[in-house]
């Protein structure tokens, strides 16, 4: 009987690969967009305009304080009520990008605030513009603080992407649900699903650990 189940599982490997592909593509797009947006929000948050800073802070708190499942339902089921029709993939990307951006914003803000005031004053005194101060002086030093938790956050977000199965997107988790209907061995099926996520995440976990060690040892120099 277990033999039959294994055979049936092997037979569904194209579906599994597709699911893994959806998970990886969805995560990758959302993480790239979320990182760009998160850095932008983080820089704006520390930029000195109180109104913008407060608005971003409120949004970040709202997103961090509500379940991702609820956010994704809101985007997928509520937005069409207002005439914005979204397919599941786009809705998933929007939700995950927004989530990533909010968490990354907080990480970037902590990094920027860790740079001593004297550094900004030195850059200011030599006539660097706001963007030049950020790009040439503050961000390179903030990256020491930002990089390890940033990569750690990627791992969390890849795992959070499993929630998109709830709106019918055939990602790795949903493939698990589909397969388990044919192969009634939940333990085996979801063990393999878990393994799929682990294979994607483990290199990142290792990377985060290495970065943490290197940042601890380095004296200010960060090669990206």
């Amino acid at each position: 009987m277990i033999w039959q189940q294994l055979q049936s599982l092997v037979g569904s490997y194209p579906l599994a690969l597709r699911g893994l592909g959806v998970t990886v593509v969805l995560s990758l797009i959302s993480l790239v967009l979320g990182t760009l947006l998160g850095f932008g929000l983080g820089i704006l948050r520390t930029g000195g305009n109180r109104l913008i800073s407060a608005a971003i802070g409120a949004w970040v708190d709202l997103i961090r304080g509500t379940p991702f499942l609820v956010q994704i339902f809101l985007i997928f089921f509520i937005l069409p009520e207002f005439g914005i029709e979204l397919d599941a993939f786009t809705a998933g990307i929007i939700a995950l990008t927004n989530l990533a951006a909010c968490f990354i914003c907080e990480i970037v803000v902590a990094g920027i605030r860790s740079v001593p005031t004297g550094q900004v004053e030195a850059a200011l005194a030599s006539g660097l513009s706001r963007w030049q101060r950020m790009r040439q002086v503050v961000l390179p030093q903030a990256m020491r603080i930002v990089l390890p938790p940033l990569v750690g956050q990627y791992v969390l977000l890849i795992k959070d992407s499993s929630v998109v199965s709830a709106i019918g997107l055939t990602d790795l988790t949903r493939v698990g649900w589909l397969v388990v209907q044919r192969v009634p061995n939940g333990l085996l099926v979801f063990f393999l699903v878990g393994l799929g996520y682990f294979i994607v995440c483990y290199p990142l976990i290792m990377l985060a650990r290495r970065l943490e060690r290197r940042m601890g040892a380095a004296h200010g120099e960060v090669q990206l």
Binding site: P116, G118, Q119, E121, A122, A123, L124, A125, S126, G127, L128, S129, Q132, Q136, V137, P140, Q141, H219, G220, E221, V222
Partner: protein
Amino acid sequence: MTASPSKNGTGMIEFRGVNKWFGALNVLRDITLSVEPREVVVVCGPSGSGKSTLIRCINGLETIRDGDLVVDGQRLGDPATNMTRLRTEIGFVFQSFNLYPHRTALENVTLAPIHVRKIPRNEAEQAGRELLAKVGLADKVHAYPAQLSGGQQQRVAIARCLGMRPKIMLFDEPTSALDPEMISEVLDVMVAVAEEGMTMMVVTHEMGFARKVAQRVVFMDAGAIVESGTPEEFFSQPKTDRSRAFLSKILRH
């Protein structure tokens, strides 16, 4: 607006009735002070007397509440004054050096010339090497700040300012964070800069430096300028009780 300072009595740095508060604390009281081009002014006084605040106002690291502050013919706080551009004409040397730790000595010196002055990289690096050689650090061009002693870091910081070819150099207790044996190497560089005709305001208690290059010593206490005169006058015949008390404390050692 005329470029010549003498015509309308405007110095390179001109304080007229400047006041500043931190909350209820009046940190600058009715400051009136004019620094001529090529003049070297030493500012001294007890800690908390407002001397750092005074020079930090000149390049806009602090803002003033009222009065006029005119630097290189431009009035600070005036909407017509481009503060970022004005800062490129003013070098500022910090007590704690504030070198960029992620950049080498040469990169510290060339950053602003390349990005602000838009000087081609190879030209800026050539000039940077010359400046580092001038402050005695030709062999430390590729060293990171963490690999340099305090005295060496402060000399890089001075070279970094000179790289912008400023009209004014401000020094905020440049030797206070240094071990005693490193003070003279920094002061020597400052003397050389002064002798080239730089307009300088230096917050320091280094009386040897003041005697050597300053035309004027300004003594501050509780946010006000209490006394001002040549180094000779100030050190040998201080006019006020407060300056006498201050001098007796710093000269005892």
